[in-house]
Point group: D2
Chain length 258, copies 4
């Protein structure tokens, strides 16, 4: 048994996916299915999950009896907007209280605004939400978010939509080693090996959207990501061989040169 | 259909594994099975495949009706030794002509000796062998080995037994882009993401031994590697998103800074 | 003319150095001199600059008519402690108002505590200090510190005393491109090339202590750092050649593979 | 005293530069002078050093009483051509016997052709030349070139004209640790920090051309390179601090994670 526990819920898959940027809802559905993801995040301000009864509804292809929806606050630049968006999501989804909080600091880089994020997290937790929170890779901020009661801390690997992979594995590792809640890398993964690297570091999961949706063949990439997440998790649990300069070296490399 | 064709043979799996360094033959068997590998390489000078009738025989756990055995010349430091070893293997295996040639240049680093390798390859090909050849990552040498008639070229990712991953992806990519035969990364892979990276570059396969056998839990690592190879292959075929500094960047990063 | 302007002061050297961890004051003096640094940072809580009249005084080897002293708040874990320490320094130094603010979040990693840092910066600026501020590499936080009126923003390259070099050049570059005040990399540089890399990114300066003091030959390393800072600055101003896969490539590498 | 000894000659500078790709001979002269180089390499097949009496002569700006000319065989794709070019150079330069041998394997990548290189080196050494030799970064090949009698071994950092920096520091380090002759990185350096990194590894020198000539301001880049080489050399001799995850870590990082 190697389950992922987030707040009051338990999951088998450690891959979380978004629903943006696909050609159409059919492709969204096929990619989500190929990914094996159980938690599907949705940008409430950009996605129709019933607000517009006459338009295509995401829930037609992501049925709530099969997936756990994770409403997110993409596009919010203040605590106030983010809190309002979460409350709207809860209403639309009949009291569903699991949300992904993201408050952005900048339209260009989409970096998190950690001060507004801390403020919104405090309000949302007091209001009964289970908050998964997008943040930077600062270990001190991550710890504070955990202490406040966030159910998962989600540091970025790299800027949203960049596909650059984990820019600072030291920080991510530091966050993981000090955490009691799941650490889920969010944003910046570009290809399968990036996802595997995150899991090998000991992350509890990875959330991605563009890496799948902006691949030339999204459904095949979704399958690749599913396998990469499993591969990385198994490699982490299996305990990798030490790195050495060569087989005959009596001790692992000690980092004095590279 | 995405088969791997090596000389006259066709395979589904793109992971090739060795049989050294396991605790016992049971662990060897279980790891090989978990890896999904179809091609199993064996160091003829160190492994009993019938030379010593009274000792445990590898073929009891790696049956020839299920796996393709790939005799290798590990431990040979000259063309002469390597050729003799291949001929011995052919005798022991009733005319089996597929071999992995490796001629080492150095006991410490186990780097290939490309001059002796070229010489041995020439002799073996003239003698009717199908030669898969371990070499350095020099694109000019790789092309020459292909031109001589080797059925697969196998550049090292990093020194044998080092677990350092692909040290020079530029060279590996250069080799891949110019090759008509399969390019199979051999040696140096340390964990699952390393294998995925190799496949994402466009390698046709990866051969490994220590990364599995020296993991704390070899059978689980074998499973991780199987998935990583598939993940990397699918990601390669799926066509990854471009790398950008951030989502709003209008063009991919142009490499002028990092 | 390529001067470094920090608040109301102007400097020629872009290397700032600390005074901790040396064998004795003679070595401190020789290393500082070899570094060519004009701004010398001093941990007020750990260094005698007159508080203990009977003990060796740093100012005997770092005379105030030759160097600009930069009192820092190393060892402070709250805004309150840091503010008190800056005020103590100002008293000891006859009204000197330039300080380096650092508020730490963790005794193990010595990561900055950005929330306490923001709070302390606000108080100090209102109290007439010119604040150079140690922070993480979050571009949003860096911008806020600049908007508050800090005279220089000093993101970490890597944890204090780690010698790991710039862990996340993307973030440092993002900070640089958006700043109107000097960006000075502080903490984490390990050797000369790390300092050069920082300057090539466009940093305005680098502050270091351990990289010099913990080298086997500190005075020689100080000289190396002086040259590396100048080399990196000149390379930045000279405009480096584009990166390409090879000379004949018609366009720079586009980042789609590595 | 930290002199560079190459064959029968001794030098102070560890930066070797080429003369190609400059706007005109004035820029060539100014850049060479700013670099502080004492050894200047010249492509005999492309440069007028007296073959064409009516055209501008490089020797007018690179006087032989001030610099050591290092004729090279750029543009040669066979041992035969390279040997002929060296002999021509010796005639043109009144018996000057120091040459840089390069035999290329490919017009696209300009990778060395090590087999032709070995053949040419043998002939040239027998013919009384002091041979500095451009090669790949294979430690076994490097050792063989040294054993044959080459006076310096010059592995590539990256493809000629690529500006990618040292692609495989492990191989370069392996070559350095096993050599009795100078190891001079040749080709691939792109900016000042690349040069510093090479020297910090323990290289005896660096040869470059494009990194200076193709900078926006070549003369300033030449100055940067001079300082970077000195900085890297001093940092190597000074003995850098160990890398650690953070200051409080009791031992250096052991390479098990990155």
């Amino acid at each position: 048994d190697d389950a992922l526990r987030v707040g009051s819920r338990t999951f088998t898959s450690r891959l979380l996916v978004g629903t943006g940027k696909y050609k159409d809802l059919t492709e969204t559905r096929d990619a989500v299915e190929a990914s094996g993801a159980e938690i599907i995040t949705v940008a409430i301000r950009r996605t129709n999950i019933g607000q517009n009864p006459d338009e295509p509804n995401l829930l037609d292809v992501i049925p709530l009896d099969r997936y756990t929806l994770l409403p997110n606050t993409a596009g919010c630049y203040s605590a106030k907007e983010a809190v309002r968006t979460c409350r709207l999501a809860r209403e639309l989804l009949d009291g569903h209280n699991l949300v992904k909080l993201e408050v952005l600091g900048d339209e260009k880089t989409l970096f998190p605004h950690v001060l507004e994020t801390l403020s919104a997290a405090e309000t949302l937790i007091a209001d009964g939400f289970e908050v998964m929170v997008y943040t930077n890779d600062d270990p001190i901020i991550a710890r504070r978010l955990e202490e406040m009661g966030c159910v998962a801390v989600m540091p970025l690997a790299a800027p949203i939509g960049s596909g650059l992979g984990i820019r600072n594995p030291y920080n991510i590792l530091e966050i993981i080693e000090n955490a009691q809640v799941p650490i889920i890398v969010d944003a910046g993964v570009g290809t399968a090996s990036d996802a595997a690297v995150a899991m090998e570091l000991g992350c509890d999961g990875v959330l991605m959207n563009t890496a799948i949706a902006a691949a030339k063949r999204p459904v095949l990439m979704a399958s690749a990501m599913r396998k990469a997440i499993e591969a990385g998790r198994e490699a982490f649990l299996a305990g990798r061989m030490p790195r050495k300069r060569y087989a005959s070296a009596s001790s692992p490399i000690d980092g004095t040169f590279f």
